[in-house]
């Protein structure tokens, strides 16, 4: 009886992996629009709005992130940012973010473009693909779990796979609480 139960449980545990490869065939994409709500500054006048902490399904799907990696190549992102180390554009695998490191901020950077050289991709990339690229960009600095981030690619090894990169700590994303009283 017991071995049966154990094997059922073991087989059942495999089911948890199913979601990882889940994909949406009809993403109902509209042309991407600038995500107007995205805030770039860490400091807000008046008061800091509460952080919207909604998990984004795209950043949890290995398939979506792998697609993001494909688009990163296909849409010439690689030409300016190399494989994360940067070239004409800044590095994406480090902890420095000029225009914000959150998924929403990266999305709006891609769609809006940025004045110091980042071209705008508004209307040129379907919205769901922009999210996938943004999720992939986050994987470059180790911000995604290792079961979601891409593993070793089939090409010339130029950089440690996204999956195995140490997590960088962008300042705005991991603020330390302000020390208000001397600790005892």
């Amino acid at each position: 009886m017991r071995p049966m139960l154990v094997s059922i449980l073991l087989l059942g545990s495999l089911l948890t992996g199913c979601k990882r490869e889940q994909r949406v065939f009809d993403p109902g994409a509209a042309g991407s629009q600038p995500a107007n709500g995205t805030v770039l500054s860490e400091v807000a006048a008046g008061q800091q709005p509460p952080k919207g902490n909604q998990p984004n399904p795209i950043a949890e799907s290995a398939y979506a992130v792998a697609e993001g990696k494909r688009f990163y190549q296909a849409y010439n992102c690689v030409g300016c940012h190399a494989n994360g180390g940067g070239a004409i554009g800044p590095a994406l695998m480090d902890s420095e973010w000029i225009y914000g490191s959150s998924l929403e901020q990266i999305h709006s950077t891609i769609v809006q473009g940025r004045p110091n050289g980042m071209p705008s991709y508004a209307g040129k990339i379907p919205d769901y693909q922009v999210w996938e690229i943004a999720a992939y960009v986050r994987s470059m600095s180790g911000q995604l779990p290792s079961d979601v981030a891409p593993s070793r690619s089939d090409h010339m090894p130029m950089v440690v796979p996204e999956q195995s990169r140490p997590q960088e700590h962008p300042g705005a994303e991991h603020p330390q609480p302000v020390v208000s009283e001397p600790s005892r």
């Binding site: 300016c80 494989n83 940067g86």
Partner: protein, 611 residues
């Protein structure tokens, strides 16, 4: 006793075996290195008169970068010290040559392309005026290799320079007042301008950059007084747009035929085929010809563009007044490795097999110093000045570069140990020629690479490269070399090695010295005859600029250099790139993993003199 004997026997056997293996290795890798054993031949032909100024980046029309000033000599150079400095406040690649004319020094900075005029008549050379063109910040995202400019040019009371976002600007050199401003390059198609313009009579010559963005290369001539376009010669496309007409007589058969700028490309690929013009121009007043090179064809991945890809990776001789092409020679037909043909042409008259011939010396990116008859375009000799395993020389009968097919990049496959790498044996950094020694002083690289071709899309305004590359040091483990080259024998006389690529230009002086800078910030003076380092000074950042030598209003000889790391390799520092990715800065990440820990960004002018 017996065991020792057998051990010796084994050692001998192993030795023979090892030697045999080495022989085999040598046989397989048909590589060539620079041969040494050149000698010094003082130059006898006449050179342009030196007025002690430095009005254009190349010093003279012949592009020699030779200063006849001789106060600073091999004997007293050890006492050389900083006379004054100036902060450009732009911490990016300082590739410009300081321009000296009418007791004023003109400095062009990288984007935002500020032009400073410094008054040399006053102590410390205070700022006389500055001109800010306010170029578009978007240009920074369309320039392949940092936001550089290679300087301005002074002519007849006017100063001409280019902005990164594609304007050519003429200023009144005394007041800094803008005379005209002409828009030449379209940023949205990836075009920028980084080159130093040159003036011949009433034309200022400007070419575009953007070979990594699928632009179509051109050289334009603007009227110096109005800024109006006089002519524009494209580097690809139909003959009438390349300005090929009845006067065009190339030396080699492969360059003869109609509309080769279309026929040597897949349909319409020439429209996005590169061949930009961002190097230095030379001018021969007697033949009335200008000489310049055309850059790499785009994209890098050669499988996308079968054919010779005319007129890229080659060089033109043109009439400066009409723009008509007179001859063309292609150093790297169907370029495989981003070997731009933009390197400088140094015009000299050399004794060649018993007669004095008008030639040009061209240390090319493909690793050969070409000696070319500058009236006809005939290649007289082409010898390797750096280690190469991708070619076996140049066939002087057909002019063709002999390639080793194994090293050609292929889509989806990694080809390893390609020497030289994509920046070539020598990139833009200009060499200099000293009549005292008859030697050409070539700053260059000693590097190899791994390359994988990738599929690539042309999307206007984004890079069009199609290649994954990473570079590393060539044989010997050093990446930089300064070679003194005997152009007659086609051999090196001496070579200075440096850890990093020597990405700065050189200047030679009548004092028997060669000045150059290193990427880790040392400005050095070497003995032009022996290559011994006689003096060196550590500047605040890395040096990738063009040193100049001039006579100040006080009659003293000054040496000036801009320090400020950047450019293609130095963009790792200037752009704060992450070298954990070997392809950072288009392949330099692997070669320069620690440079950010050794050098910091800067942008300071240093002027040296004797006490």
């Amino acid at each position: 006793m017996k065991s020792t004997g057998s051990r010796t026997l084994w050692l001998v056997l192993f030795g023979i075996l090892g030697f045999w293996f080495m022989l085999g290795c040598h046989k397989q890798s048909s590589s060539t290195s620079a041969s040494t054993g050149g000698s010094i031949h003082p130059y006898t032909a006449e050179m342009e008169k030196d007025d002690g100024q430095w009005v254009r980046a190349t010093k003279d029309f012949a592009n020699t970068r030779y200063s006849s000033l001789s106060q600073i000599t091999a004997q007293n150079v050890a006492q050389l010290r900083v006379s004054w400095t100036f902060a450009t406040t732009v911490p990016h690649g300082q590739e410009a040559a300081p321009i000296v004319a009418n007791n004023t020094m003109y400095l062009a900075t990288p984007w935002p392309n500020v032009l400073y005029a410094l008054d040399l008549t006053k102590p410390g050379a205070p700022l006389k005026w500055k001109y800010e063109p306010h170029p578009s910040p978007a240009a920074k995202g369309e320039a392949c290799c940092d936001w550089v400019t290679r300087g301005a040019v002074f002519d007849n009371g006017k100063l001409f320079f280019n902005t990164l976002d594609g304007y050519t600007i003429a200023l009144n050199a005394d007041t800094g007042e803008q005379l005209w401003r002409t828009h030449l390059a379209d940023l949205n198609n990836g075009e920028t301008i980084t080159m130093a313009p040159m003036v011949v009579r009433n034309h200022v010559f400007v070419g575009n950059s953007g070979g990594e963005f699928g632009v179509r290369g051109w050289l334009a001539a603007l009227d110096t007084s109005s800024g109006k376009l006089a002519w524009k010669a494209y580097s690809t496309g139909p003959d009438n747009e390349v300005l090929i007409g009845s006067r065009f007589h190339p030396y080699y058969a492969t360059d003869k035929g109609s509309d080769l700028g279309v026929k040597t490309w897949p349909p319409d690929a020439w429209r996005i085929g590169g061949g930009t013009v961002w190097g230095f121009l030379s001018y021969d007043p007697q033949l009335n010809l200008i000489y310049y090179g055309t850059a790499n064809p785009g994209p890098w991945n050669p499988e996308v563009r079968p054919g010779d890809n005319k007129w890229t990776a080659g060089m033109f001789a043109r009439d400066p007044d009409t723009g008509e092409a007179v001859w063309f020679y292609q150093m790297s037909p169907h370029d495989l490795f981003d070997w731009d043909g933009i390197n400088e042409d140094v015009l000299v008259d050399l004794p060649w097999q018993g007669q004095l011939r008008k030639v040009l010396l061209r240390p090319d990116r493909n690793g050969h110093v070409y000696v070319i008859d500058r009236a006809t375009g005939q290649v007289l000799s082409a010898n390797p000045f750096a280690y190469t395993n991708t070619t076996t020389g140049v066939d002087l009968r057909t002019g063709a570069l002999q390639r080793i097919p194994d090293k050609a990049p292929r889509t989806g496959q990694v080809v390893r140990n390609i020497c030289p790498d994509a920046p070539g044996a020598k990139d833009w950094q200009p060499s200099s020629f000293s009549p005292q020694t008859g030697l050409l002083y070539i700053p260059h690289q000693n590097m190899c690479m791994d390359e994988e071709g990738t599929e690539v899309s042309y999307i206007a305004g984004t890079p069009y490269v199609g290649s994954s590359v990473q570079y590393y040091a060539g044989p010997g483990g050093h990446m930089g070399e300064l070679t003194a080259w005997d152009p007659i024998a086609g051999k090196a006389v001496w070579t200075i090695k440096d850890k990093y690529p020597i990405w700065s230009g050189t200047v030679t002086t009548a004092g028997g010295l060669v000045f150059f800078g290193t990427m880790d910030g040392w400005f050095k003076a070497a003995d032009a005859k022996t290559g011994n380092i006689l003096w060196q000074f550590k500047t605040d950042s890395g040096i990738i600029g063009q040193p100049v030598s001039y006579r100040g209003p006080d009659g003293k000889q000054y040496i000036a250099i801009l320090s400020g790391i950047g450019g293609w390799p130095g963009s790792i520092v200037a752009g704060q790139l992450d070298t954990r990715d070997g392809t950072a800065a288009n392949g330099w990440g692997k070669a320069l993993p620690n440079i950010r820990n050794e050098v910091t960004a800067g942008g300071t002018l240093y002027v040296f003199s004797l006490p």
